[in-house]
């Protein structure tokens, strides 16, 4: 393998060191959502008096804890190329059942464990049909959305079940630890763990692999079906945790909780730059996406718009943000 030395020697290497700009473009999804998040915060800080106050900001993180937790798990699901539409229903079922089991005199730690196990069970059942029976995730979890919500309604008869305000259970939703609301603290712990698992472990790597090329990942000796099953177990458990936190904060379990929650979660994940086609996910992006969704909802209420405006504006903003994301930051990946 020798070549004419003078013609080939001494040419410039075609690769330069990745500059800051290169890296920014490579992480375009995260950068653009960060920018968009900041713009939203600035906008509401200027247009409303109440937005940029410590109580309101803490309120936002407290209220967005369920969204953050489930969006973190949903990032895994969507990165495998799947989707979980049942999270809102699982949230409602676990919220009502945790209230019901406390009413039945079950100790609160047992109730929590039971709810998490229930979420995992839902995930195992859905994951089994998706991973092993190869039914599209959209279909399986759409059926799950309907069935699970139905159970929640059946159990409560449509009423909400109150939780004794003196029960230590409500502390999960209402307590303050070191000046931070407990739900925000729980969400932070979950997000840190999710970030590490997603980026630094074998499981996280195979989640990306399954979404990028499931057959290649299988041929590399990875049990891809188990990976897929697990991501639905994670999202089921995350939805259960969200249901517990919500019930504790509201002091009751309602079978109507979390209507449309799955759409907020998916919007948060997709806003954060995770591709619905799988193979590309970003947990940092998801966190920013979820906070953006929460800030929008909060800011629009503070702007004294009719509350019915919120879904309209949110929907448009999501469309525009993702469109900009596609247009501006397509770099990094090959145009396709």
């Amino acid at each position: 393998m020798s070549a004419e030395p003078n013609a080939y020697a001494g040419h410039q290497p075609r690769m330069r060191e990745a500059t800051l700009l290169d890296r920014t473009i490579a992480h375009g999804g995260v950068m653009s959502i960060a920018l968009f998040f900041i713009v939203c915060c600035l906008f509401f800080s200027v247009t409303t008096n109440a937005f940029l106050t410590a109580p309101n900001l803490l309120n936002i993180v407290r209220q967005s804890a369920p969204l953050l937790i489930v969006a973190a798990a949903m990032t895994f699901v969507i990165t495998t190329g799947g989707i979980d539409l049942s999270v809102g229903s699982v949230l409602a079922l676990t919220a009502t059942l945790s209230a019901a089991s406390l009413q039945a005199g079950i100790p609160w730690p047992v109730a929590i464990l039971m709810m998490l196990a229930l979420g995992a069970l839902v995930g195992v059942i859905q994951g089994y049909f998706i991973a092993y029976e190869r039914i599209p995730a959209f279909i399986v979890t759409l059926a799950g959305l309907s069935v699970i919500r139905g159970f929640a309604l059946l159990i409560t008869g449509g009423y909400s079940i109150p939780i004794e305000p003196t029960s230590p259970f409500v502390a999960i939703g209402r307590a303050w630890v070191f000046g931070i609301p407990a739900p925000a603290l729980i969400a932070t712990v979950v997000l840190v763990i999710a970030y590490i698992v997603f980026n630094e472990t074998h499981f996280g790597r195979y989640v990306t692999g399954v979404g990028a090329n499931a057959e290649a990942t299988r041929r590399a000796g990875v049990d891809t079906r188990r990976i897929i099953l697990w991501v639905y177990v994670l999202s089921g458990m995350a939805a259960a945790a969200a249901g517990i936190i919500l019930a504790a904060r509201l002091g009751s379990g309602s079978s109507n909780a979390g209507q449309g929650f799955e759409l907020d979660v998916i919007a948060a994940v997709v806003l954060g730059g995770t591709s619905l086609f799988g193979g590309r996910g970003s947990l940092a992006g998801t966190i920013l996406g979820a906070l953006t969704v929460a800030v929008l909802a909060n800011g629009l209420i503070l702007s004294h718009l009719s509350p019915f405006f919120t879904p309209i504006v949110t929907g448009f903003i999501i469309l525009v943000a993702i469109w900009l994301n596609f247009r501006l930051f397509r770099g990094g990946a090959r145009g396709r």
Binding site: T201, R218, A220, G221
Partner: protein, 265 residues
């Protein structure tokens, strides 16, 4: 064959049907330690399918596989990997959104423990990926590049590097040179020679017949899922191989049964 040593691979009676299509029909394959076998045949002859059976990616309907004299049954590619069978797939089987090092180590990423929790050892992975690539003379500027941003030939090199670098005992290459430039093809042929000298058995599938004569010990011809001919490389020439691949088509149509017969030479 008069060779008495135990075969590294012996596949017999392998059949695989996809719906109405009999992809493999009682096919067989024999491979000695250190031997380089050229597998040729028309498009759709079943070359990829029989090699995927050996790599565990396809489970045959019938047939037995023996590795070093022991009967094995691969239920997944992981089993074949454990038996040190590595394959470069025709479609490369790379994950586009994972970086070069991640693809090289896919399925066997080095671990490090952080507070007892197993994690990816990315530093080690990139360092070893750089070594692996430079040992094979593969030029990739940065192991942190995503595979989707590489050229077709570079991607093929990654797939070859992955299969060749983990000390295989059987190396299957399904059209490894299809996208490669002249120098890179030479490097792959050289790689085949080196590893086979070390005792690695190689199956080379290619439509570049001249390459077969540079590295193979033996050629096996497949036609519509069956083995139709086998030649020691010194007993044949390119015209005969061409006729074995193509000529059969016409012979088979009239005869209905492609009995082995010499077409020319």
């Amino acid at each position: 064959m008069t060779d008495t040593s135990v075969s590294r691979v012996r596949m017999t009676g392998i059949s695989k049907r996809y719906g109405a299509l009999q992809s493999l029909d009682n096919a067989s394959l024999d491979l000695k330690p250190g031997e380089v076998l050229g597998l040729v045949g028309d498009n759709g002859a079943g070359k990829s399918t029989i090699s995927k059976v050996l790599s565990g990616a396809v489970i045959p309907d019938t047939g037995t596989i023996e590795i070093d004299g022991r009967t094995v049954s691969f239920t997944s590619p992981a089993d074949a990997r454990a038996a040190r069978i590595e394959m470069v797939y025709q479609d490369l089987a790379l994950c586009d959104t994972i970086d070069v090092a991640g693809n090289l180590f896919l399925g066997r990423e080095p671990k490090r423990r952080l507070a007892g929790v197993p994690m990816l050892d990315k530093t080690l992975m990139h360092a070893r990926a750089r070594d692996m690539l430079s040992n094979l003379g593969i030029v990739i500027p940065d192991t942190r590049m995503k595979v989707e941003n590489l050229s077709g030939g570079q991607r093929q090199s990654i797939a070859i590097g992955r299969a060749a670098s983990f000390n295989p005992s059987v190396l299957i290459m399904d059209e490894p040179t299809a996208a490669l430039a002249v120098a890179e093809v030479e490097a792959v042929l050289e790689l085949i020679r080196t590893v086979s000298k070390r005792g690695v058995s190689v199956i080379l599938i290619t439509h570049r017949l001249q390459d077969l004569f540079l590295v193979c010990d033996r050629i096996q011809v497949m036609y519509e899922g069956r083995n139709v001919a086998e030649r020691r490389i010194e007993d044949t020439n390119i015209e005969e191989v061409v006729n074995l691949i193509v000529g059969r088509k016409f012979a088979a149509r009239s005869a209905g049964h492609p009995a082995e017969r010499s077409v020319s030479a």
